[in-house]
C-alpha cells in the first residue's frame, strides 16, 4: 500500500479497500518508527491527522469525494497551517502556531480533502541546498544516511523517499524542489511563477519563490498540481488564468518533440557519472520519437552570482518582519528597542540566514544599489532572454538537475560558495520564472541522478507529459532505497 501511486490510492479509497484513517495510520506508524533517524518531519500530530482522515472518510461515504480526498500528504513547514506549528526551519519561529491557512493548505486540505501527515523539515527560511541549515537538525537521505537529501525541501524529499508519505509539497526559489527531488530519486515540479499562490507561504525571495508538488512520479505531480494551482486574489502576483487539468496530456506520444540541449549544461562542471545518466536519458527520448537540437544559454554562468544579489536583497526586506514584536521568538534579555531587535535576530536566526540578510542589506544600501542590485536585475533580463531565444528552436530544454549526486553531511557546510554552486543548473529557471521539473534518470555510485526538464511559460502540462512518457518507458522512478519495503 505504501508504494501505490496517488491514482491507485484514490481507487483503493473509492473501492473501500482501505479507509483514509487506516491509510493515514499506516504512514503515521512509519513516521513514528523511521523519523527519529531520518528527521524528515519536524511536527507530527496524530490526533489532528486522524481527525482529517475521519472527515475524509465521511466525505467518501457521502459520495462527495474528489480524486485526492483521503490521501495523506506531507506539508513543507513553510506553509502556514492553522493550528499547526509552522517553523520554516527556524528558531525564530520554533513556537509559532499559525493563526491562518496558506492558500495551498486550504486548497489541498479543505477543498480537496487531503490529509496532512505533518510538517516537514527544511533549510532555515528555505536558504540552503542540503537541509543542514535547519534549526531542527539535518535530514538524512534515505538512499545513504550519511548523505544530505538536498534542500531546501529536504524533509519533504526524504519523507517521500522513505515512504513516510506518498507525496509532499515543496517550494523552489533557486532549485529547492528540483535538487532534493534529484538527490532522493523523486519527481518534482516548480511551476511557472504565479501559478501557485504564495499566500501563507513564508516569503524568502518573493519574485522567485514558487510552491509545487513532489512525488514518486509525474502522474502524481500532475494530480497534486491540479489541487495546488489557481488564481488567488490574496497573492498580488498570482496570475489570472483559466483552470487547467495538468494531467490532460500525460499520455500524448512524444513523436516530433524537439528537445533543446543547452551546450552550457553539457560542458565542464558536471560529474561524469551524472552526465552519463543524462546522456542515457537523451538516448531514451530519441527512441521515444523526440529529436534533439543544441541550444545556448550564454548567460547561464551568471545566474548564481545574480541570484545571490537578488534573493538576499528580497530576503533582507522580507525577513525584517521577524523582530520579536508580533510573533515568534524574542530575546529574553535586552535594553532598548533597538537592542531587542538586534538580540532577537542574532539569537533567532542561523548563520546562513544572517549571511543572506547581510548581503541583501549591503547590496541595497546607498552607493551599492546600482552596481549590485540593478546590475543583477539587468543580468536577470539577459538570462530570461536566453530562454526566449532557445525556445524558438525547441519545445523543452533538458539537462542535469544537479552537478553531483547527494553529497556527504558536512561536506559543503563550511563553505557557502561551494554549497551555492550545487544549484548551477536550477537557478536560471527561477530568475526567468519558467516551469522546471526534476525526475529520476539513473544512478551513479548507487545514488540517484535527476534529469531536469525546463518548459516555456505555462507549459507544465507538456513537461509532465514529457516526464510521464519517460517514466512509462523506464523504471528508475520505481527504484527504492534499501530497507524501504
Amino acid at each position: 500500500m505504501i508504494h501505490k501511486s496517488l491514482k491507485q490510492l484514490s481507487q483503493a479509497l473509492a473501492a473501500k479497500e482501505i479507509s483514509s484513517v487506516e491509510l493515514s495510520t499506516l504512514f503515521l506508524d512509519r513516521i513514528e518508527r523511521l523519523n527519529p533517524e531520518i528527521n524528515a518531519f519536524v511536527t507530527v500530530d496524530r490526533e489532528k491527522t486522524l481527525k482529517m482522515a475521519a472527515a475524509a472518510d465521511a466525505r467518501i461515504a457521502a459520495g462527495s469525494a474528489g480524486p485526492l480526498t483521503g490521501i495523506p500528504i506531507a506539508q513543507k513547514d513553510i506553509f502556514c497551517a492553522e493550528g499547526w506549528r509552522t517553523t520554516c526551519g527556524s528558531k525564530i519561529l520554533a513556537n509559532f502556531v499559525a493563526p491562518y491557512d496558506a492558500t495551498v493548505i486550504e486548497k489541498m486540505h479543505r477543498d480537496a480533502g487531503m490529509v496532512s501527515l505533518g510538517k516537514t523539515n527544511m533549510d532555515e527560511f528555505a536558504m540552503g541546498s542540503s537541509n543542514e541549515t535547519s534549526f531542527f537538525g539535518p535530514v538524512k537521505n534515505p538512499w545513504d544516511r550519511a548523505r544530505v537529501p538536498g534542500g531546501s525541501s529536504g524533509g519533504s524529499a526524504a519523507a517521500i523517499a522513505a515512504r513516510l508519505a506518498p507525496a509532499a509539497t515543496g517550494t523552489d526559489t533557486g532549485g529547492s524542489i528540483r535538487q532534493p527531488a534529484a538527490l532522493c530519486n523523486l519527481t518534482g515540479l516548480k511551476p511557472t511563477y504565479g501559478v501557485v499562490s504564495r499566500y501563507g507561504m513564508i516569503a524568502y525571495a518573493s519574485s522567485l519563490d514558487q510552491g509545487g508538488p513532489m512525488g514518486a512520479s509525474a502522474e502524481d505531480c500532475a494530480l497534486l498540481l491540479n489541487t495546488m494551482a489557481g488564481f488567488d486574489p490574496r497573492d498580488s502576483t498570482s496570475l489570472e488564468r483559466p483552470a487547467e487539468d495538468y494531467a490532460r496530456d500525460l499520455d500524448k506520444p512524444l513523436a516530433g518533440l524537439r528537445i533543446g540541449l543547452p551546450k552550457e549544461f553539457f560542458g565542464e562542471g558536471c560529474d561524469a557519472a551524472v552526465m552519463a545518466a543524462v546522456q542515457d536519458a537523451i538516448a531514451e527520448y530519441r527512441r521515444l520519437g523526440a529529436s534533439t537540437v543544441e541550444v545556448s544559454l550564454p548567460n547561464s554562468h551568471l545566474s548564481v552570482p545574480a541570484y545571490y544579489v537578488i534573493a538576499p536583497a528580497e530576503a533582507s526586506s522580507n525577513l525584517s518582519r521577524f523582530d520579536g514584536v508580533r510573533y515568534g521568538y524574542r530575546a529574553p534579555d535586552y535594553g532598548n528597542l533597538d537592542d531587542m531587535y538586534m538580540k532577537t535576530r542574532a539569537q533567532g536566526f542561523g548563520d546562513e540566514v544572517k549571511r543572506r540578510i547581510m548581503i541583501g542589506a549591503y547590496v541595497l544600501s546607498h552607493g551599492y544599489y546600482d552596481a549590485y542590485y540593478l546590475q543583477a536585475q539587468r543580468i536577470r533580463r539577459l538570462i530570461a532572454n536566453d530562454f526566449v531565444a532557445a525556445f524558438e528552436s525547441c519545445d523543452v530544454i533538458l539537462g542535469p538537475t544537479s552537478p553531483t549526486t547527494a553529497f556527504k553531511l558536512g561536506e559543503k557546510s563550511a563553505d557557502p560558495v561551494q554549497m551555492y554552486l550545487s544549484d548551477i543548473y536550477t537557478i536560471a529557471v527561477n530568475l526567468a520564472g519558467l516551469p522546471g521539473m526534476a525526475l529520476p534518470c539513473g544512478f551513479a555510485g548507487g545514488l540517484p541522478v535527476g534529469l531536469q526538464l525546463i518548459g516555456n511559460y505555462f507549459d507544465e502540462a507538456r513537461l509532465l507529459n514529457v516526464a510521464h512518457r519517460y517514466q512509462q518507458a523506464t523504471d528508475w522512478h520505481q527504484r527504492r532505497p534499501e530497507g524501504i519495503e
Binding site: P99, Y100, Y193, G194, S207, L208, P233, T237, E240, N299, L302, V304, P305, A306, Y308, S316, S320, G324, V325, R326, Y327, G328, R330, Y334, G335, N336, L337, D338, D339, M340, Y341, M342, K343, R345, A346, F349, K354, M358, I359, A361, Y362, S365, A371, Y372, Q375, A376, Q377, R378, I379, R380, R381, L382, A384, D415, P416, V417, Y420, N430, L431, G433
Partner: protein, 95 residues
C-alpha cells in the same frame, strides 16, 4: 572588492543583527567569498538592458477599497511575545 571588519559591523547594524568581534571576523571571510562570486557580474556590459524586477511583466493588480477581512486581532495577538489590552508591548521608546 573586499569588506573590512568595520563594514561588516555596519552591515550587521543595518540588518539589526548583533555580532560579536569573533562573529564579525568569520562573517567577513564568508561574505568576502560570496562577493567574489557576485563580482563576476561586473565583467558584463549591460548598457541599455532594462532591469528585470519580476518574472512576469504584469502590472500590480488593485482590489476595490472594501472590507474583506474579519477582525481576528485576538488570534493574531495570541502568538505575540507580549501584548496588553490589544497592544503589542515593546521597550519604552519615548520618555
Amino acid at each position: 572588492m573586499s569588506l573590512t571588519t568595520e563594514q561588516v559591523k555596519r552591515i550587521a547594524h543595518l540588518a539589526r543583527i548583533e555580532v560579536s568581534e569573533s562573529e564579525a571576523l568569520t562573517t567577513q571571510g564568508h561574505l568576502n567569498g560570496i562577493f567574489e562570486l557576485i563580482e563576476q557580474m561586473q565583467a558584463v556590459d549591460t548598457t541599455g538592458v532594462e532591469p528585470m524586477a519580476h518574472a512576469q511583466d504584469v502590472s500590480q493588480r488593485l482590489r476595490t477599497d472594501a472590507v474583506s477581512e474579519t477582525d481576528r486581532r485576538a488570534a493574531y495577538q495570541a502568538v505575540a511575545p507580549e501584548t496588553e489590552a490589544g497592544l503589542y508591548l515593546v521597550p519604552k521608546v519615548i520618555e
